[in-house]
Amino acid sequence: MRLPTLLLILAATVLAAYFLGRQRALSLARQTGGIRSLHSLPKYYGYYAALGALLPGIALLLMWAAFSESLITARVVASLPEVLRNQPEAQLGLTLNDIRNLAGGQMYDESRSAEFAVAADLYNSLRDASRKILAGLIIALSFSGFALAWFQLRPQFRARNRVEAAFRSVLVLASLLAIVTTIGILLSVSFEALRFFRQVPVSEFLFGLNWSPQTAIRADQVGSSGAFGAVPLFVGTLLISGIALLVSVPIGLMIAIYLSEYARPRLRRIVKPVLEVLAGIPTVVYGYFAALTVAPVIRLAGQQLGLEVASEAALGAGLVMGIMIIPFVSSLSDDAINAVPQAMRDGSFALGATRSETIKRVVLPAALPGIVGGVLLAASRAIGETMIVVMAAGLSARLSFNPLESVTTVTVQIVTLLVGDQEFDSPKTLAAFALGLMLFIVTLILNIIALHVVRRYREQYE
C-alpha cells in the first residue's frame, strides 16, 4: 500500500472517530437527561475519540520512518555474499546505493553480477513486506485506539481536560523544536568534526598556516599532501568581513542618524522601506552583482592606478557584502537611537548645543551599547555569509591581508568541499564539518554577546 493511501485511510478513520465519539456523547446525554448532564461539550468527546485513533498510528508511522530503512538495509547487507559484505564502509555504501538504484529500477546495468539482482529483489520484497506490515499495524492500532477511547466515554468523563492536556503537550513539543534544532546542529556537526580531529590534530587545524585539502589519490603525488591548517581561511574571512564592516558601519550609522534625527517624517516614510529592500534581496543576487559588475570595475580602477588587482579580489566581495549589511546596521542603530529618551536631547539643546553636537556627545554615547550590539550581529552575519564570497571571492588559500589579492573564506571552503562528489570518510569532507563547527561556535558567541548587550541596554531606558 502506498503511503498517501495509508494517510488517507488514517485521516478517514480519524474523521469517523470524531463523529462517532460526538454521537456517543449525544446519545449518552439523551439517556441521562439532556446535554447538561455531560461534563464537556459533545465535540470534546469527539476530539477525544479522534485523538485515540490518531496518536498511536502517528507514533508508529514516525518510528517506521526513522528505523525501517536501516533495518531493511541491515537485512540486505547480511544477505550479501562474504566478499561484498566485508568491504570497507565507504565501498559498502556505494554497493548499497547501487542495489537501491537497481531496486528502484533507475539503473539497467547488465554487467552487474547476479548477486546485485538478488540483493535488489530482496530489498524490494522486504520493503513491500514492511509497507504491508505498517499498513496493517496502523489500521489495527488506530481502530483499537479508537475503541479504547470510545469505551471510556461516560457523561462524567472529563473529555475537555484530557483533550486540552493533549493539545498542550503538542504546543510544548513545538516549542522544544528550537532546542532540538540547536542540539541537532551541535551534535551532528561536532560528531563529524570529531572524526576529522581524529585524523588531523586540533592544533594543526587551528594554527596551521597551510590549507590544501586535496588529498592525494596516489601516495607519490606532488602538491596534494592534504594540509589542513585553517589560519589562511580565518584571515581571509576576517579580511572580507572587515572590509564589509568598514563599508556598512559608517554608512549604516549615518543613515540611521539622518533618518531619525534630521529627516522629515515624509522622507523617512519613503526612504526607510526603500533601503529595507536592500535587506530583502537574496544574497545570490549580490554575489552575481559582485562577480559580474563590481569586480571588473575594481580591476579597471586598479589598472588606472597602476595596481595589480586579482580578478577575485577580497575588496569586491567585501564591498558588496558591506552594501548588503547596510540596512541591517541602520535598522538596529535606528532602534538604539530611538530608544534614547527625548529628554536627554532636550537637555542638550537647552544648553545651546547644535544638533550634531547633541548627537555626537549625548545621543550616540547613550545609544552606544545598542549600536555595538548591532555591529556585532552584523559581524556575525558577515562571517557566515556564503553566496557572495562563493561567487566573488577566490578558492586559493593565501595568507594575506592585502584586499587587492584573492583570499578564500571558511564558508567558501565548506561549499567547495561538500559540493560535488564526496566520499564520506575522507578528511577532505570531514574538514568541512570542522569548519562548520568553528563557524557555528564563533557566530554563536557573537550572537549571544550581541543579544545580551542589546537586551540589557533596552531595559536600561524602559
Binding site: L177, I179, I185, S188, V277, V284, A291, S330, T386
Partner: protein
C-alpha cells in the same frame, strides 16, 4: 585657553566676554553641523544609489533574455528521411534524425556553402533545440510528412546575442567573437529576407535547465522552489504558531523558558550554511532521504524559518490586548478555548504576515541548498517533492557560473523572476498588515 582658566574664572566672565567667545566659535560649529548633515544626506543617497545601480545592472543585463531570435525556415518534412518504411510507428518517428531536415532547409537558402567547414558553420546558425520542435510537430500529427511547412526555429545563442546587439543599434563586435565572417554574412542576408525575428522567449518560462542557453528555462527551478516552499509553509507555520502560543500564553517564567527564548533568538542569527550542514548530516546521511529532493530542502528551510515565524507570531499574540483574554475567561472559557477562540483569530493576520516574510527569506536562500545536493544539473521539470530538482536562487548561481556569454542575460532574467516573486510575497504581507491590522 579655556581649559587653563579653571572653574572660578569662568564664573567671573563678563556677559560681553561670554557672548564674544560663543560667537567666535559659532561659525566653526555651524560649519561642522552642516558637514555632519551633509554626511547623513550622502549616506542616505549612497544607499539609494546602490539599490538603483543594482537594479539597473540586472534589468539592463537581463531584459533582452525575454526575447529570442527565431529564423523562418521552409522545412520539407521528407517522409523518406523521417519514416522510411511508412508505417508511422511512433518509435521510429521519435528516433528519426530531424537535424537532416533543418540542414537541407538551410542549404536551400544558402546554396553556396559548399565545403564541409562552411556547412558546419551554416548548421551552427540554428539551435540544437530546433530538432526537438520538429520532432514534436511530427509526433503530434504525422500527416505533415511529405509536406513543406514554414516554421520559426530558434537561433543558436551566439547568433541570438549578435542579432540582439545589432537590433539594439550596436555593432555587435563585442559579442561577435564567436561568429565567423560567413555566419555574419548569412545572418545579414536572412535579416534582409525578413527571415529573422525577435519573438517572446517562451522556452525561458517553460523549460528546465539546459546546457544550451537558448533552451534553458526557469520553470524547473520555479517548480522546485514551489515544492520546497510548500513543505516549509506546511511545517513551519503550524509549528511556529504552536510554539509561539505556548511561550506567550502557557509557559510560566522559568529558567527553562529563558533558555528556549535565547535559543530561538540565536537560531535566527545562525548562518544559513550551518543549517545546510545539519540537513546533510541528519536528513541525508542519517535518515537516508534522497539528495536534491525539494522535501529535504523544505525541511532544512523549515528549521531556518521557524525562529522567524515564532518571533513574528509571538509579537502578534502580544499585540492582542489582555482585556480580550480576561473577557473570555470571565464568561467561563478555559484557557485553551480563550486562546483558540479569541486570541488566535485576532493574531492570525500578524502571524500570516510573519510567515510570508519568512517564506520570502526562504525563497531567496541558496547556501544550505548547495549542501544538500540541489546544485545538480537537472533538465527535467520536477513532478513532486521527492523528484530531484533545483531551486530558483540555486539556478541563478549555476548559470552565473556558466562560461557561455548568453547565460549572463539569462542569469539576470532569472534574478528578475526571483525578485518579482519576492516582490509579490512582500506586497502581500504589507497588504495583509494594512488590511487587518487593528490598533487597540
Amino acid at each position: 585657553m579655556m581649559a587653563n582658566d579653571g572653574d572660578r574664572n569662568r564664573h567671573q566672565l563678563s556677559p560681553e566676554e561670554t557672548r564674544r567667545r560663543v560667537n567666535a566659535g559659532l561659525r566653526r560649529r555651524y560649519r561642522s553641523e552642516q558637514l555632519f548633515r551633509f554626511y547623513g544626506i550622502c549616506s542616505v543617497s549612497l544607499g539609494v544609489v546602490f539599490l538603483l545601480v543594482l537594479f539597473g545592472t540586472i534589468i539592463g543585463n537581463g531584459y533582452s533574455a525575454f526575447q529570442q531570435s527565431f529564423v523562418r525556415l521552409d522545412i520539407h518534412f521528407d517522409a523518406e528521411l523521417v519514416d522510411p518504411d511508412g508505417a508511422r510507428d511512433p518509435e521510429v518517428l521519435s528516433a528519426a534524425d530531424y537535424s537532416l531536415l533543418v540542414k537541407s532547409a538551410l542549404r536551400e537558402i544558402v546554396p553556396e556553402a559548399g565545403s564541409r567547414a562552411e556547412r558546419r558553420e551554416l548548421n551552427g546558425l540554428v539551435s540544437a533545440g530546433a530538432v526537438f520542435e520538429l520532432r514534436e510537430t511530427v509526433m503530434a500529427d504525422a500527416r505533415i510528412l511529405g509536406q513543406t511547412r514554414s516554421m520559426w526555429l530558434p537561433l543558436a545563442s551566439e547568433m541570438d546575442l549578435w542579432i540582439k546587439a545589432r537590433s539594439a543599434g550596436e555593432s555587435g563586435e563585442d559579442v561577435g567573437g564567436r561568429i565567423s565572417a560567413n555566419q555574419r554574412a548569412w545572418l545579414e542576408r536572412l535579416q534582409a529576407d525578413d527571415r529573422i525575428e525577435l519573438q517572446f522567449n517562451k522556452a525561458f518560462f517553460s523549460n528546465g535547465d539546459s546546457r544550451e542557453p537558448e533552451l534553458a528555462g526557469v520553470w524547473g527551478a520555479t517548480k522546485g522552489s514551489f515544492f520546497m516552499l510548500l513543505v516549509t509553509l506546511l511545517l513551519s507555520f503550524p509549528l511556529g504558531v504552536a510554539a509561539a502560543i505556548y511561550l506567550e500564553e502557557f509557559a510560566r517564567r522559568s529558567w527553562w523558558v529563558d533558555v528556549v527564548e535565547v535559543n530561538i533568538n540565536n537560531l535566527a542569527a545562525v548562518p544559513s550554511i550551518v543549517f545546510g550542514l545539519l540537513g546533510l548530516a541528519v536528513f541525508i546521511n542519517f535518515f537516508g532521504l534522497p539528495r536534491s529532493a525539494p522535501l529535504v530542502g523544505g525541511l532544512v528551510l523549515t528549521l531556518m524559518t521557524l525562529p522567524v515565524v515564532i518571533i513574528a507570531s509571538r509579537a502578534a499574540i502580544k499585540a492582542v490586548p489582555p482585556s480580550v483574554r480576561e473577557a473570555a475567561l470571565g464568561i467561563g472559557a478555559s484557557q485553551m478555548q480563550m486562546v483558540f477562540h479569541h486570541v488566535l483569530p485576532l493574531a492570525l493576520p500578524g502571524m500570516l504576515t510573519g510567515a510570508i516574510i519568512g517564506m520570502a527569506r526562504a525563497l531567496g536562500e541558496s547556501a544550505p541548498l548547495l549542501m544538500i545536493g540541489m546544485v545538480a544539473f537537472i533538465v527535467d521539470v520536477p513532478s513532486g517533492p521527492m523528484s530531484p530538482s533545483t531551486a530558483l536562487p540555486v539556478q541563478i548561481y549555476l548559470w552565473a557560473d556558466s562560461p557561455e556569454r548568453a547565460f549572463v542575460e539569462r542569469t539576470s532574467a532569472a534574478i528578475m523572476v526571483l525578485l518579482a516573486f519576492l516582490l509579490v510575497m512582500n506586497a502581500t504581507a504589507v497588504w495583509l498588515r494594512s488590511r487587518f491590522e487593528r490598533r487597540w
